[in-house]
Symmetry: C2
Subunit: 200 residues, 2 copies
């Protein structure tokens, strides 16, 4: 278990370049990890350390046919994927309700809104009305930057898109309204540090 003191990656070409053109020597994609796996590892770390309790919700499945073979476990023989009515992650931090969705893009200058679904956006609205903490974690895979953006910034952009407006969030807007999350080794995506600064 190796951890650098500041949790940041060594990045020799970083000096004098803008973050979006930076090339890190440890490439995120080369690690064979997905954003989901990294968030699961992070949530496991939070759980074990008693920092927060956040789980990814199971994929919703409509089960149609189940076989019950003798002396062995039930086998689902026919089932279909259902669209989720909520976001993927939720949990508790210091008594407060925490809710988020995580998405990644290969785009360099904007984040496509089509990554989200109407149901998820409605869910985020409901959470904000209940004074829950609700945000999205947006990853630009090329530049290996991960941002936390409060749901309150996403909702008007979504509404605007539905009125034939822009179908993506400009990266500049995410840099301004969002908050860069440090990528580390353990935990890999220490988003609670950002949550703590922003909401507590």
């Amino acid at each position: 278990m190796i951890r650098y003191p500041n949790g940041k990656m060594y990045s020799p070409t970083n000096k004098g370049t803008t973050p979006s053109t930076q090339k890190a020597t440890i490439d995120y994609s080369n690690r064979g990890m997905t954003l989901e796996e990294d968030l699961n590892e992070t949530n496991e770390y939070y759980l074990v350390k008693g920092i927060a309790v956040v789980h990814k919700k199971p994929t919703p499945v409509q089960i149609v046919k189940v076989d019950y073979p003798k002396r062995s476990a039930a086998v689902i023989k026919e089932a279909y994927f259902k669209q989720a009515s909520t976001t993927d992650y939720n949990g508790v931090y210091k008594g407060k309700y925490l809710d988020f969705e995580a998405k990644e893009t290969k785009n360099k200058t904007s984040f496509p809104l089509q990554n989200f679904h109407e149901h998820q956006i409605q869910h985020m609205e409901q959470i904000l009305k209940q004074n829950g903490i609700c945000f999205v974690i947006l990853m630009f895979t090329t530049s290996q930057e991960i941002y936390l953006l409060d749901a309150s910034h996403l909702l008007p952009l979504w509404e605007n898109m539905k009125k034939q407006g822009r179908k993506s969030i400009p990266k500049k807007e995410i840099e301004t309204k969002g908050h860069l999350i440090e990528i580390g080794y353990h935990p890999r995506i220490d988003y609670i540090k950002t949550v703590d600064k922003l909401y507590f």
Copy 2:
């Protein structure tokens, strides 16, 4: 949509009898409803009315084989049920994290602890440590009584059982430490009213 003024059922034989021997004219089991369905209806009511956002988590399934037929939806052809690592319900009420498990029994004088799993109990412990609101909803189907019992009361009973202690919770203890939830028509199990009294 019929709703009685006090949300209670008409129960002519109720006078002079103890709650556990009471026989209501509208039998819960005859309504063809399960506790899960009633809680889903209740959560839907809370969602629509903007009272709280609580969802049942999807059943966790380990997907092994998926077919992708041309021009139609993906079909899961082989999958297995996984044991849940959390409770079934969670959400947000007035900014606070809410978490619970709901179970029913046909027993009249006690509630079997085997209705719960070690993983769920551990999850409840973790939620309490994060100052989340965590409880169980226990239904005695025969007497049609539903109680809310804070998880802090359940945990020591579970520990005691593991040390060869009692395998069930005496109903008297649930009556003392728990809180009776009103059964109504819409919503059917108005547990938020009890949550509001207890935790806010």
